[in-house]
């Protein structure tokens, strides 16, 4: 910055800037996840706090460690490591042993983010890579789900399968047997009274946080809506056991990590396209892969792998969608 002889600053335009900063965005998104976290604690008890805290500590420690080793400026205050930590925590079963959150957090922040150049240069969503690593490495621990129990004090000795797991292995009949009728099934899924990762179960809590982000214009609805719509249509067409167009899209929308993934993971700035039309394409791709994995692959849930695969395509999508430039010649070359 140059200063002139009167002590005034001389620098280039524009001279003013919006109030938005990277730390403000990261911390706001983190705060918007609190409803989901509270519901996780409500159903899965103190262990939910324990797992999430380990993820956050692991993420921030990894960021500090790798940046220190690399001789870079420490950027813990920007909140992005905290956000990755809380997202990773919300994507874990409450029953995992302590080392899984810690190691996954290192894979997420230390490797996926920092070793690729830090915030802005990671190809994949760090929290999802952390979770994918854990799922493949500790498959049993990562697919052992506590029975949700109300009122913050659950000990969760008993384990069970997730609704998607039941649907995949034993079918719709068994699912209705567990939850009563369809209406109470929907209701339980909506409020989150079901087995699953500790922050993914309560649709209401996730939607409250997401609505706040949309209101603040931190995320747009292009990716989440195209993602959800594709899953719904795919589930309706291919999800039924008795032929095409007999599937139940609502169960697919309300279960698994879809809401959390669509609103919080797929919309990760760094790893999604920036062009509007590209974002819709990205959402459709995520939805297609999710339903493909849910219905045809070995795992009951496919949101995580779907988003990670689409992450690879984000730069290609941006490159080929492009924006429509003002006054550009409309005729073909």
């Amino acid at each position: 910055m140059e200063q002139n002889k009167q002590g005034l600053i001389v620098s280039v335009s524009p001279h003013i800037s919006s109030e938005e900063t990277v730390p403000r965005i990261m911390w706001t998104v983190s705060i918007s996840l609190l409803p989901a976290l509270v519901m996780g604690i409500y159903y899965f008890g103190p262990k939910a706090v324990y797992v999430t805290a380990l993820c956050i500590i692991g993420s921030m420690a990894s960021e500090w460690f790798v940046q220190k080793l690399a001789g870079k400026e420490i950027t813990l205050a920007d909140g992005s490591a905290f956000l990755t930590g809380i997202l990773l925590g919300l994507n874990m079963p409450s029953t995992v042993p302590f080392y899984i959150p810690l190691v996954s957090a290192f894979v997420a922040v230390g490797i996926t983010k920092q070793l690729f150049g830090g915030l802005g240069y990671n190809i994949f969503n760090p929290a999802l890579i952390g979770r994918a690593f854990a799922l493949i490495t500790w498959t049993r621990a990562m697919t052992t789900w506590a029975v949700p129990d109300a009122a913050f004090v659950a000990i969760n000795a008993k384990t069970t399968a997730t609704p998607l797991g039941i649907l995949k292995e034993e079918g719709m009949g068994k699912l209705l047997e567990v939850f009563g009728d369809k209406l109470s099934l929907y209701k339980e899924l909506l409020i989150g009274h079901r087995a699953g990762s500790l922050g993914e179960t309560s649709m209401i809590a996730i939607l409250i946080g997401a609505a706040f982000l949309v209101y603040r214009r931190y995320i747009s609805l292009r990716i989440p809506l195209s993602f959800l719509a594709t899953v719904a249509v795919g589930a309706w067409i291919f999800g039924g056991k008795t032929g095409y167009f007999t599937g139940d899209p609502i169960i697919h929308l309300l279960s698994g990590g879809l809401m959390l993934g669509a609103f919080y993971m797929a919309t990760d700035y760094v790893t999604c396209p920036t062009v509007k039309s590209g974002q819709i394409l990205f959402g459709i791709g995520c939805g297609f892969l999710t339903i493909l994995i849910r219905l045809k692959a070995g795992y009951p849930e496919g949101v995580m792998f779907a988003i990670l695969i689409m992450n690879c395509f984000a730069p290609l999508i941006d490159r080929n969608c492009r924006t429509s430039v003002f006054g550009a010649k409309k005729e073909k070359k």
């Binding site: 335009s13 802005g120 006054g327």
Partner: protein, 434 residues
């Protein structure tokens, strides 16, 4: 209400600081520094010698070349030097220094109350001889805009009263206080261009100006006053044409490619003065405003008055002022020297305090949030231009329509990583050929 379709931003307007301050005449300077180049294009050649006495309004610089505009003395007095002085844009420009002899003696002005009866060529000649340039800040010689090549058929002229830059209120006050004269200026433009459609575009945050201009134009059904959405950069030529006529100036093209001429309302006022009063462009309205100014005002100042005198007239700088800008805070230039003179393109002097400005010497990685893509009124991808420029890949930046950027700064305003995107784009533009 109409607006342009792509992008745009809503920075805090801060017009309230000066929009109620009626235009005051600024005291004549003790010494006026009149740059020989106050316009885009070739500089003028000095017509006078050091030591000679000049009168206010006297022609002192003759244009050399088609894209140029003559320069007139703004005060009466003795020429004490012809030397290089810093211009508001930071360059050193040969300037004529006039020492005020307190007489304020003018060259005789040839007034012509029946100017509307003159032919288009006569009026155009007066606009040319009066040294009128675009007074919104770009300072493109007006007569050049009024002389389109034969194959370009002009069918509309737009008076730009958008004044979309935060803080600035000079055009606002001029529309409030001299609406009739601006409309007369527009009529002259319509006559010169031989067309019968004139528009005046004003952002909706100036309802009083819209009303005044509508009143002033009510007698002529060929003139329409349009209320525009308050959205930066509404006052950019391309945006204004899109908002009012829904025409898109082609990439790399000029307004005349879609049959339009755009003139700032201050320019229209100057055209009226030139044609009716025979008065050359030697003074203009300048908003002196911003949180760093003790009592913000709108001043009618002679060209060549030092910025420091304008600031003193407004009670001086507050102790917290750290940056003084010529023009608005989005596209204006930080002033290097407070003795810099007011020129034909100085629409405002804005003083900002530390809390108002952004320091971009240290910036972060692009997080690809896409805010810049959403903000760009030209539909570009500023993040790609920024990253390519940062990495020195200027040719790749060109593939992302580098040269369609007109540097409005919207992308840079919204960037949460505080990246100097516009500056990176400027750098890239100098490194590759269009």
């Amino acid at each position: 209400m109409s607006t342009f379709t792509l992008g745009g931003i809503h920075p805090p307007e801060h017009k309230e600081l000066a929009c109620n301050a009626a235009i005051e005449v600024c005291k004549l300077p003790q010494r006026a520094v009149v740059p020989l180049s106050q316009h885009i294009g070739a500089p003028c050649k000095s017509l006078i010698e050091v030591g000679q006495r000049v009168l206010a309004g006297q022609l002192i610089g003759n244009p050399e070349g088609f894209i140029s505009a003559p320069v007139h003395a703004s005060i009466a007095g003795k020429v004490t030097g012809i030397e290089a002085f810093p211009s508001p844009m930071g360059r050193m420009v040969p300037s004529i220094v006039i020492e005020n002899d307190k007489s304020d003696e003018w060259t005789p002005l040839e007034g012509d109350p029946n100017y509307m009866e003159r032919s288009a060529d006569v009026l155009k000649g007066r606009i040319k001889a009066s040294g009128i340039v675009g007074m919104g800040g770009a300072t493109f010689p007006t007569v050049v805009k009024l002389s389109p090549p034969k194959e370009k058929k002009i069918d509309a002229v737009i008076i730009n009263g958008a004044e979309c830059e935060p803080y600035l209120t000079a055009d606002h006050r001029l529309m409030l206080e001299n609406p009739k004269e601006i409309v007369e200026g527009l009529k002259i433009l319509m006559k010169v261009l031989e067309l019968n459609k004139g528009y005046i575009g004003i952002e909706e945050n100036k309802p009083d100006a819209i009303e005044k201009m509508k009143d002033a134009a009510s007698g002529d059904k060929n003139i329409e006053v349009w209320t525009l959405v308050t959205k930066y950069p509404q006052g950019a030529e391309k945006m204004l044409i899109k908002s009012i006529l829904n025409r898109e100036v082609p990439a790399g093209g000029l307004p005349m490619d879609v049959g339009v001429v755009v003139q700032n309302c201050g320019t229209a006022y100057a055209i009226y003065e030139a044609c009716c009063l025979g008065k050359p462009l030697m003074e203009r309205v300048v908003s002196v405003t911003g949180p760093g100014i003790t009592s913000p005002k709108n001043l009618r100042a002679r060209i060549g008055t030092p910025v420091s005198q304008l600031i003193e007239t407004c009670g001086g700088l507050k102790s917290g002022a750290v940056k003084v800008i010529s023009g608005g805070p989005m596209m204006g230039f930080a002033i290097y020297d407070l003795d810099t003179p007011v020129t034909k393109g100085t629409s405002g002097i804005v003083a900002l305090e530390d809390k108002d400005i952004v320091h971009r010497t240290k910036f972060n990685h692009c997080i690809r949030c896409g805010r810049c893509v959403e903000a760009c009124p030209m539909g570009l991808m500023p993040l790609m231009l920024s990253v390519y420029s940062e990495k020195g890949l200027y040719t790749d930046a060109k593939d992302y329509h580098l040269f369609d950027c007109f540097e409005c700064g919207s992308c840079t305003y919204v960037c949460p990583s505080k990246r100097p995107i516009v500056q990176q784009i400027r750098l890239a533009k100098t490194m590759v050929k269009p």
